[in-house]
Symmetry: C2
Subunit: 241 residues, 2 copies
């Protein structure tokens, strides 16, 4: 049953990528196992990847983007990896291997519902990313995974990370649309609340496995969001596609 109240005026959907469209936990864990090849048996990669992701958020929150100096998200992941590996006493990984592991964030794989969901949504809406990841990271992972966007927008283009209003406003300006004509789609409530405060419509997508099978993700629907969806196929159905 379409959620008709939000459908009529909607022209474009903006998608968060890391977590919402892609399963970073599985991908990065698997890449860590592949690259370390048994040389770090004491590391619990399921936990390590979540600490790595948390470290990324800590650095992003502390980043001052007002000075005109842009920090690539790849360098944030790489620096955080080096710190965490030092804490773990890992010295067996070469510089090239650490770089390869940090680049796993550019090889993230989509959740199974994402490609068929986007295929249904594409006929009716302009589909774009709005990610905090670097443009190159989103381009590379989208091309690799076969994620077809009509446009890729990222924080790098705005010079400000979500939830800074500039990130959302830049995407709206590039689309030539009012916020009320755009729906932000994310599995992270802070992202949706920031978009909603600027007049964007919002769709929450539950990703119970975002942090792996053993960690709790917040998947509780909230009536303040225009749509609460189980996945991208459910989102398509709720938007009448």
């Amino acid at each position: 049953m379409p959620d008709a109240t939000v459908c009529g005026s909607m022209e474009a959907l903006l998608f968060d990528v890391q977590g919402t469209a892609t399963d970073f936990h599985s991908t990065v864990c698997r890449e860590a196992v592949r690259i370390t090849a048994g040389r770090c048996p004491h590391i619990d990669w399921a936990d390590f990847v979540n600490r790595w992701r948390a470290e990324y958020f800590t650095v992003l929150d502390a980043t001052d983007t007002t000075q005109g100096q842009w920090t690539t998200v790849h360098s944030v992941y790489r620096d955080a990896l080096d710190r965490l590996l030092e804490e773990e006493g890992v010295t067996v990984l070469s510089d090239a291997e650490r770089e390869d592991l940090a680049l796993a964030w550019q090889r993230l794989e989509p959740w199974p519902d994402v490609i068929p969901g986007l295929d249904r949504l594409r006929a009716r809406f302009t589909l774009a990313t709005l990610s905090n990841a670097d443009v190159s990271a989103v381009v590379n992972l989208s091309k690799r995974a076969g994620l077809r966007w009509d446009a890729i927008f990222t924080a790098e283009m705005a010079g400000a990370f979500k939830p800074d209003p500039a990130a959302y406003r830049t995407a709206a300006a590039y689309l030539g649309l009012a916020p009320s004509e755009i729906m932000m789609v994310a599995s992270h409530k802070y992202d949706l609340r920031a978009a909603a405060s600027l007049g964007f419509a919002t769709a929450f997508v539950a990703r119970p496995r975002e942090y792996g099978p053993d960690a709790a993700a917040d998947v509780a629907p909230e009536p303040s969001f225009d749509v609460n969806a189980r996945d991208f196929l459910d989102l398509a159905a709720r938007l009448g596609c």
Copy 2:
């Protein structure tokens, strides 16, 4: 026969859109005939569209992008249209009709070789636009025409129009690539010369009908460009795709 010398290090191709990938002259002429519906019999649309395009270049060249105020290309086309229609003494077109006609530049159709050419190039290279048109215009016309890009970059994102170096450098930064890993593809030599001066590889694509059947376009190959191609299929062949 692939032009092997430039193939090895190439990761991405940047495409000009208006003229190189799309046939603006046919599209805008046809839209003008449709919208005016016989009410402007004294206007030679084939000539009018070329004057309109020339007026666009004149305004772009005179635009000072250093003041932080961005001029949308749509507004440039719209203002130029109003001036040209006034010169022609046309008063029969409503504001909505003029807006519709100016938006024809967002409905440009690709040359016949473009979609099959991009399909062949896509497997090997990252394909992105680098257009002076507004982001929304390139998004809209690409979606409408089925042009699949891995990313859309435009002058609007750099705050500077081609041939300003900032336009090319912004695209390279977003791709995370060196200029030597990127080939600029265009039917306009000024665009390629600007890219070449910054270290980009260059591919000239001949578009003899760019200004319609009765106007001469510069289609002479030049050895200073890395590739001189007849169309996008020939470009794919020369790049070994």
